[in-house]
Symmetry: C2
Subunit: 209 residues, 2 copies
DNA sequence: GTCTATAAATGGATAGAC
DNA sequence: GTCTATCCATTTATAGAC
């Protein structure tokens, strides 16, 4: 077997991609335990031996897929928006808030959170990858921005790290908690918009100089 | 072992209680999928036919136990503390905050949350029971208290329901989110105490008249 | 009512043909 | 590399003895 110039990202064959796609969907929908390798093979339109030729076992498959998903979900969106210099802190914070909520408040984001929370005791790397690639980057960036606002005297933020978490807590909790408990429907864009405006107003009041 | 006038609440035999106790522990530790009826029978020191004579099937057993646990966890602690009239709003809010965090930030509370979030799609009644018996009662009581403070002009709370959620969000998020993701250890009493003080200060600043 | 033993089905993983 | 067919362990659930 000669390696051609095929392997650009990583040598993933078409079958492997089929498997990953099917498994992702099934794991997100049903968690780890109640998804069988039979079901994955069936939905991917491959046989079980093919499945096992690409992935060592079920745990490895799950770990690889979920870690990749955490990275995709995190890396893509958390680096932008912050500090288009020509906008007011109020508008920047609103943009940050809406970006965050848009990222999380949808079917995939919620499912990912469910899985991470449920399976991180059995797969510790899952929680770590999720945290490092997602929330941590967000909090670090937000903390840096708040530190800057404090240094410039625009806001008074004595503990930027705590302030970032509290901002995010107010932002998320109203929606994420009842959503995870399954007692409300996904909020509309309008609801999200209004909520963010309210939270930013509260936050600015807390940290008024 | 003769059953005397034991059964006060509901006719639960000794064996049934053994089963419930063992199953509760196992479900909390491992979720629904990966706990087998064999394991439950074994830990309860009963045979499988005995297990099945008391509970129709695994799903029913899970549902019954978890719903009962949600009720226990909710009913016990949410009704007290509010409004010992002789204390300042600041101190009452701090007491409320500490009570809530003490209730949730422990091994059982966290496990319960994991299960509810993970399994509420398959067992919708789980999320509903959890919400109605726990968080909802808390938020209703807090909302009522904030409404009163607003009416008395002590604080300015234009939307008490939202304010209650935001208070709880700031209170919980710092701990609950990284705990669920498995990336921090359980906070100490000291950390909780300091955090609550900070949150209450922020909340009072938001709603200063 | 409770247990031993087992049925019936499904799970993860593999041998061997193509 | 892929599939058919299968192995073996485990799972849910029950029949029948005590």
């Amino acid at each position: 077997m000669e390696p051609k110039q095929e392997a650009s990202t990583l040598p993933k064959s078409a079958k492997a991609l089929q498997i990953i796609e099917a498994a992702s969907k099934l794991f997100l929908s049903n968690g780890f335990g109640s998804v069988s390798m039979d079901a994955i093979a069936k939905h991917a339109n491959v046989s079980k031996p093919t499945l096992y030729s690409h992935f060592q076992d079920k745990e490895t498959l799950f770990s690889e897929i979920m870690n990749a998903m955490c990275q995709d979900a995190g890396a893509s969106q958390m680096v932008e928006t912050f500090e288009q210099e020509n906008s007011s802190p109020e508008n920047i914070l609103k943009a940050i808030g809406r970006t965050k909520l848009d990222l999380v408040l949808n079917w995939q984001g919620l499912s990912l959170a469910r899985i991470v929370f449920a399976e991180t005791t059995r797969f510790p790397s899952l929680g770590e990858t999720f945290w490092e690639t997602g929330p941590k980057q967000y909090y670090d960036a937000l903390e840096a921005y708040l530190t800057k606002l404090d240094a410039e005297g625009i806001l008074k933020v004595s503990n930027p790290a705590k302030a970032a978490m509290n901002f995010d807590g107010m932002l998320m909790w109203t929606f994420i908690f009842p959503l995870l408990a399954g007692v409300i429907a996904m909020p509309t864009e309008r609801e999200i918009h209004d909520h963010v405006d309210g939270i930013v107003a509260d936050f600015l009041r807390i940290h008024a100089p």
